[in-house]
Symmetry: C2
Subunit: 190 residues, 2 copies
């Protein structure tokens, strides 16, 4: 998606060979016009897929999942990272290791909002080592729902998450795949 790649190249900050900061338009300050275009693009990429619900994880996946959901005309469910007083009753739960924070956290979705045979599209802002996506996919499988694909805004192609998912036979569509980051130069996979 050229609009996104141009924006990453213009406003993204490469903090190291691994860390890209896009908090001016994606995950702190958010450009809702761009998010809307991303949602439209996910709908185009997955136009041949039956989608009943979009699943993401709080917090920075929520916005892009919502804009995509407008085009699919389906609800969004976001996995919670923290136990809450109102997430009573039973929930599906999966452990996710965060390399960034070097800690394991648990993501949960209430069993009321993931049902057997529902067709689920997973959407998230980043795909790096794939741990968060695998956690969401685990929740989908625990529910007996059908994983229809994974949509990602920015895939770090130099990390192995995308390979892991694709080798599992999962359809992954990324709006931008970064092959390498070197100083101020970002190279995209074509």
């Amino acid at each position: 998606m050229d609009l996104l790649k141009d924006r990453i190249s213009k406003d993204g900050e490469v903090l190291s060979r691994d860390v890209l900061k896009v908090d001016s338009f994606l995950n702190h300050q958010m450009d809702v016009g761009l998010l809307d275009e991303m949602g439209k693009e996910f709908a185009r990429l997955f136009c041949d897929v039956k989608v009943d619900k979009i699943v993401t994880v709080e917090a920075s996946g929520i916005a892009v999942a919502c804009f995509a959901a407008r085009y699919f005309d389906v609800p969004v469910v976001f996995a919670k990272k923290h136990a809450t007083s109102t997430l009573t009753g039973e929930a599906y739960e999966s452990a996710v290791y965060s390399f960034t924070k070097q800690t394991t956290f648990h993501i949960r979705i209430s069993k009321k909002y993931l049902k057997p045979c529902e067709n689920i599209l997973v959407i998230d802002d980043f795909l790096a080592n794939g741990k968060a996506a695998l956690g969401l996919i685990d929740l989908v499988h625990q529910a007996g729902a059908n994983l229809m694909g994974v949509g990602v805004v920015i895939e770090k192609g130099f990390q192995n998450g995308g390979d892991i998912l694709r080798k599992m036979g999962i359809r992954v569509e990324s709006l931008a795949i970064i092959e390498a980051m070197n100083g101020h130069t970002i190279t995209y996979r074509v």
Copy 2:
């Protein structure tokens, strides 16, 4: 907003005199059609106000803030509750006490995304004791930005957050104000 009140009465669960669970359509599973109508309603309520940016707090404020932002055609900034590796540089920070979780957490917005003289509309999903809203307002004031108002999806009118804000001279617009919850009966302020 009758559409919202009807939905709360239909799908909300009163867990106690204080706790209302709306996770089937607002803060776990999300009805994006309803969220879009809420965004439109905030734009109508604040149509006489100059808004440059919408500020909310992760996670459940993000979706409604984004849908409102579409109608105002402005960016959203969400305050982060957790220190992140990419929130480098200086940030405005405020302490927020959570009665639900009985703990104090810190919310932060990068100084890059809140500037003096920006006209800020604060939007959140719930207003109860007002602690989260006061934290966001504190960040706005620290930045020297202008607080133009606070938009809330569900105000618990039987708690004092709304009174506190209004007595401070802050314009608060709530899409639904709950006067009392008693068993299965929810009474709205008219």
